[in-house]
Symmetry: C2
Subunit: 235 residues, 2 copies
């Protein structure tokens, strides 16, 4: 990675797992909201179940059987399933559920993220290319101090990754050719789709995204353009 | 404006004229590019003519007689008209014209802007609601150090102000009711449209946007929710 600033004009980032630790954060915020109601449960299991509904919820939209709705709405519907799974379907009113849903706006960045993005921002445009909405990504950036230049991703494309249109829409929005943009992710399948679409690719392992027993995405599965261990290496 | 942070969740901003001094900046960058070619002319007149093509170019899109294209493209077409007006139609090749077109990404903020936005960002979401594209606004923010939380505006709406859809699309993107969002502008007609759409309104006079002889928008034309003289008053 000698003189990388000449090799790309923008880096776009997966966010859940790559930039932020959604699992411990959602567990913490859920506990904070529900312990007040006398609830005690395995908060990590709660976070995992809630997140587990994410891919099937998006699948309907990616397949076209449901029109685009923002991830905030899908998170809300998935929260309802999660509360039901844990026998808590009658615990919260609608307003309280939306309040708990904002857990996804309070996710802690991994320790290298803010310094790494701040350094990279001097050399390139940096933006999330997440399935999260503009609203969600904006509030998450304020919460975690993420110094994005702009918010790209699903809302811009009105579709969800790994549909090629999402990566293409981000490059179009920046008026950059795809080969001047790097997709950064901790998930090999995200990079597969980005490479297929013509973008450069950077992999960073986040080996505890799914906890100590994580078995996936511990290593790069392909010869990605960059393999990094810390966001500061992009700068 | 006592305790304004309780009264709105986001402020969205007109940019050309309200946040940045496009006239002197475009004149300066144009001179920088064209003086090398031996051209000498009235650079302020050049900037004024180029900007003067802006409203008619957008009118075709607002009326629906032309599909949405980003302002970067309109600026390029308007540059061609401007070069022709000044007898310079054969001076630049396409690449040089696109390079000169990036003048619109190098506009100086008015002196109160960066400090005012930085303070306001602690209390509210701040974003441009400009007719400039995401690409243009992103590069302009990097140039001028504008600390936006996200980039909203014409690209999000695929239409141009003062069409109501632009203001509505910005509020929807933030998942905020229109009455929790303030439109900030130095142009009364922009605020007319924002108020009509349900947003709060803030006027700031920029009495030299069009030079010392400016006759329009020197005063608020209505009882806008806020009338400020410095961006720091929004915080």
């Amino acid at each position: 990675m000698s003189n990388p600033s000449a090799k790309f004009k923008a880096c776009i980032f997966d966010v859940f797992g790559t930039v932020v630790d959604w699992r411990n954060s959602v567990a913490r915020v859920s506990q904070h909201h529900l312990a007040d109601k006398g609830v005690d449960l395995d908060w990590i299991a709660f976070a995992d179940f809630w997140r587990g509904e994410y891919v099937p919820a998006m699948a309907k939209i990616r397949s076209g059987s449901r029109g685009y709705v923002a991830l905030d709405q899908l998170h809300y519907e998935n929260l309802e399933s999660t509360l039901e799974e844990f026998g808590l379907q009658d615990l919260l009113n609608e307003q309280e559920k939306w309040h708990l849903n904002s857990a996804w706006e309070q996710l802690d960045p991994w320790p290298d993220v803010v310094a790494g993005l701040t350094a990279l921002k001097q050399h390139a445009i940096i933006a999330p290319c997440s399935n999260g909405s503009i609203a969600l990504m904006t509030r998450l950036a304020k919460y975690g101090g993420l110094p994005w230049d702009c918010i790209l991703g699903a809302d811009i494309a009105q579709n969800y990754k790994p549909e090629p249109e999402v990566y293409l829409a981000c490059c179009r929005a920046l008026r950059l050719p795809v080969d001047q943009v790097v997709m950064v992710a901790a998930h090999n399948n995200d990079l597969d789709a980005a490479r297929e679409t013509g973008l450069q690719t950077a992999f960073i392992a986040r080996p505890t995204e799914h906890g100590a027993g994580q078995t996936i995405d511990l290593e790069p599965s392909s010869d990605w353009d960059y393999v990094i261990t810390d966001f500061s290496q992009l700068a």
